[in-house]
Symmetry: C2
Subunit: 479 residues, 2 copies
């Protein structure tokens, strides 16, 4: 058991911070509520970005960059939007040594300024669709911050699209939700439930919001990515109009969708253990660490180290450059060297000692379950990718089983409360309530509607209002 | 001649803006002095980023992310630094609905906040070197902005390193200068002169600044990237101290280095012509456009278009995915279709018509010199990369010849002034003046010391002060 990490059973919040600290993922910045993403943490973000960016481009999107600063008057053009975001904004009042005529806010999200630009770019139906994504920093002032999960500044991508028809915009909203679900599942090994948000949990200004919800290892939910169907709300607020094929003027239909550095928090809280970070191999920047080990300094430098370097080259050719590293921190004790990679979540450790080398073998140790295997060196190009694949599958299955074991269907409120109290987790229940009922349930239990899952279209009697034909909802306490 | 672009001979500034507009690279944002980088412009930036990022990683650097907002008191810790940057800062005074206790500036550059973090991360010589880069937005309030060249917000990378010795930090400063020079030359086809800045042109707080200077097609200089040796200035201001191998406490030695979206301005002003954008192929996001052409709609859709798609697939396999596109804007006239790609700077156009297809050939037209070649379709995987290589070389050579033709060595001030007046360009001259003399020359001629070129170590009599043993300098008017 790691002495530098509080066990999660003892204090989950402290465990989370300790894992981040020992893996050197992030630090609090000198500005309250802001974070510094350290190289190990940032390389995970780069890895995440790579997969999402490629998927956005494969689905026809292009990247662009819009300004950091937005006039306050822009936010005010959409009533729900300004109500939702203005209280969280950081405001620039002075620049270049002078007071500004109109204060500018640091973007909390970019619908408004992008809507303004789209209104200039769109004239005809031929200018549609616009399929643009932006990778950027955004700012939402937080009184109570938590690294990666809730910080005043965070990094994200925000897709913003404009379409000629309602159907096409709705299709885009769901397409990007599915892109999110696929990458979260297949790359991040996060079992997520794709669903529709309830009225009370929608994005300010959206007609409909969809979400991917994950369960963390403390059984709380984490909203991991959202996709919004804006209807014509922002098109009307910013006059995004186009001439259709009949030469009539119409408002466009817009969407937006985003995932953020919060996903790093989801990775930590889904996979890691009391010894520190565990990363799914596909998103791990360093997938394999090779450790040359010997007490004979001569053999270490002249035989084992060169063999380790050669092994790293061979594996890098298969796994991608710089994803395999050789540990040469020979001034540290082997145990401390093992532990530092383990705490950084490197999925596989290969120990190369004298005897192993003589036998043409290397000892492989999995980070996730500590399983040890002796691998023939001649065959590592085949065996290592298979092991990494197995680690991914095992992490996913473990998280999925955990979620299933902690998901309960209920038919009345007392059962709902009792399960939340004794176990927590996801509560499935038919629900037909509105914003008022959601609020009541939240006040009494701390749980909110996480989503109406798309995969479950069954209907039944509402557990709370007793109404018939209620849709299946998932409730949980959440981050 | 393009009717939508002002000829550069008539109005260079307007030509520059017209090229940006017709290529849809960028727009002014609703916030004064800020820009929107449109998809075509941003894809060039992504292409630039890819090469620099790979080179940084190959030289052992890792990426990280530091906060956008910096307490004003941090800037004040380094006297020259605050004097240089405070007047240009945008200041956040309110956040989360309240006035802040201490105003925060939006980073104009991150030496201060990174210095603060390094002081926490560095204890022992074993923690050094720290080799970190950051890709980020920065803000320097501009009264007179120009797209890409001078905007209040811009995108850049800023490398920040800390070392145990002066020699190692100086070596790093020059190594990154050379990385810049190599990529500018080999990828952006920009002939640049690497050199040392004069005392009056140093980064605020640096002990020494190095630069890559390029000549634009109006003969003015553009500083394209800089690398700074900070000595121990920032280490002392932020207490970055380490215990050396003798257990003594020492201050670290730091560097910083950056290139920005300004490089897109350099590309435009070096290579483009009066018809619009010209891009060097290695940095062009779209390297080849294939245009199926026929008046017979049946043949177009059933024979030519499928052949064009197949050709695109074959070329994408060689040139990288999405670098070859097929133009299907059949509602436009062929001439307008040609022109739209030409104005966007696509290096090579392949026209595929009925007769060409029957002959197993495709007509290739180079963007840079309009040269036309009939290429056998069976061999495009070989011929097209060779042509693209030739375009790169020709663009580089043309720019280098232009610079050489407009570089003059002088030995006295009257010659200096006369050449600047009649021709402009780069003036080489031995110079031993200080800040006062630099200021005098600037006031009288508008020219500044661009650099003391590293490649010319000769010395001679100063053209301005008459002192002996003066170093060779390059003067020019600049952006």
């Amino acid at each position: 058991m790691a002495r530098n990490i509080t066990p999660k059973e003892q204090d989950y919040s402290q465990w989370y911070l300790d894992v981040i600290k020992t893996a050197e993922l992030a630090d609090y910045a000198p500005v309250r509520g802001c974070m510094v993403i350290r190289p190990t943490g940032y390389s995970i973000w780069e890895s995440i970005q790579k997969y999402f960016d490629e998927a956005f481009k494969e689905t026809g999107h292009v990247n662009a960059y819009f300004p950091l600063l937005i006039p306050i008057s822009f936010l005010e053009k959409e009533a729900e939007h300004v109500e939702g975001f203005a209280p969280e904004c950081a405001v620039v009042t002075h620049a270049g040594g002078e007071e500004l005529e109109e204060p500018l806010v640091i973007r909390p999200t970019s619908e408004t300024v992008i809507g303004h630009m789209y209104s200039k770019w769109v004239q005809s139906w031929r200018d549609l669709p616009i399929l643009i994504n932006q990778w950027a920093n955004v700012m939402r002032w937080e009184k109570r911050s938590r690294l990666f999960l809730r910080t005043s500044e965070f990094l994200w991508q925000e897709g913003h699209t404009a379409h000629a028809t309602r159907e096409e915009a709705l299709e885009e909203t769901l397409k990007m939700l599915e892109v999110y679900r696929t990458i979260m599942t297949e790359i991040l090994a996060l079992p997520v439930i794709a669903g529709e948000k309830s009225e009370g949990e929608r994005f300010p200004g959206a007609e409909n919001t969809f979400t991917c919800e994950a369960m963390m290892s403390d059984k709380k939910a984490l909203q991991s990515g959202t996709s919004h169907f804006m209807g014509q709300n922002f098109a009307k607020a910013f006059e995004i109009q186009f001439q259709n094929q009949n030469l009539d003027l119409e408002y466009a239909w817009t969407t937006s969708w985003g995932v953020s550095t919060r996903l790093i928090g989801a990775l930590i809280m889904t996979h890691s253990d009391n010894d520190g970070l565990i990363l799914p191999p596909r998103v791990a920047p360093v997938k394999v660490v090779i450790m040359p080990i010997s007490k004979d300094e001569n053999k270490l430098n002249n035989s084992i180290l060169p063999s380790a370097m050669e092994l790293a080259n061979r594996l890098n050719n298969v796994l991608g450059s710089r994803s395999v590293v050789v540990d040469t921190e020979f001034h540290m004790r082997p145990g401390d060297r093992f532990f530092s990679h383990l705490q950084r979540g490197v999925p596989l450790r290969l120990e190369l000692g004298e005897r192993d080398l003589e036998q043409g073998a290397v000892l492989a140790v999995r980070r996730d379950n500590r399983e040890k295997m002796l691998l023939p060196i001649s065959d590592v190009e085949n065996s290592v990718p298979v092991i990494l694949e197995q680690i991914h599958n095992d992490l996913y299955t473990r998280a999925l089983n955990f979620r299933n074991d902690n998901t309960f269907q209920v038919s009345d409120f007392s059962e709902f409360k009792s399960i939340l109290e004794t176990n927590g987790g996801f509560i499935k229940a038919y629900f037909a309530g509105g914003v008022a009922e959601e609020k009541k349930i939240k006040e009494e239990t701390g749980a909110t509607v996480r989503c109406f899952p798309l995969e479950d279209t069954s209907t039944g009697k509402c557990f709370f209002t007793g109404k018939d034909n209620a849709k299946m909802a998932i409730f949980a306490r959440s981050y």
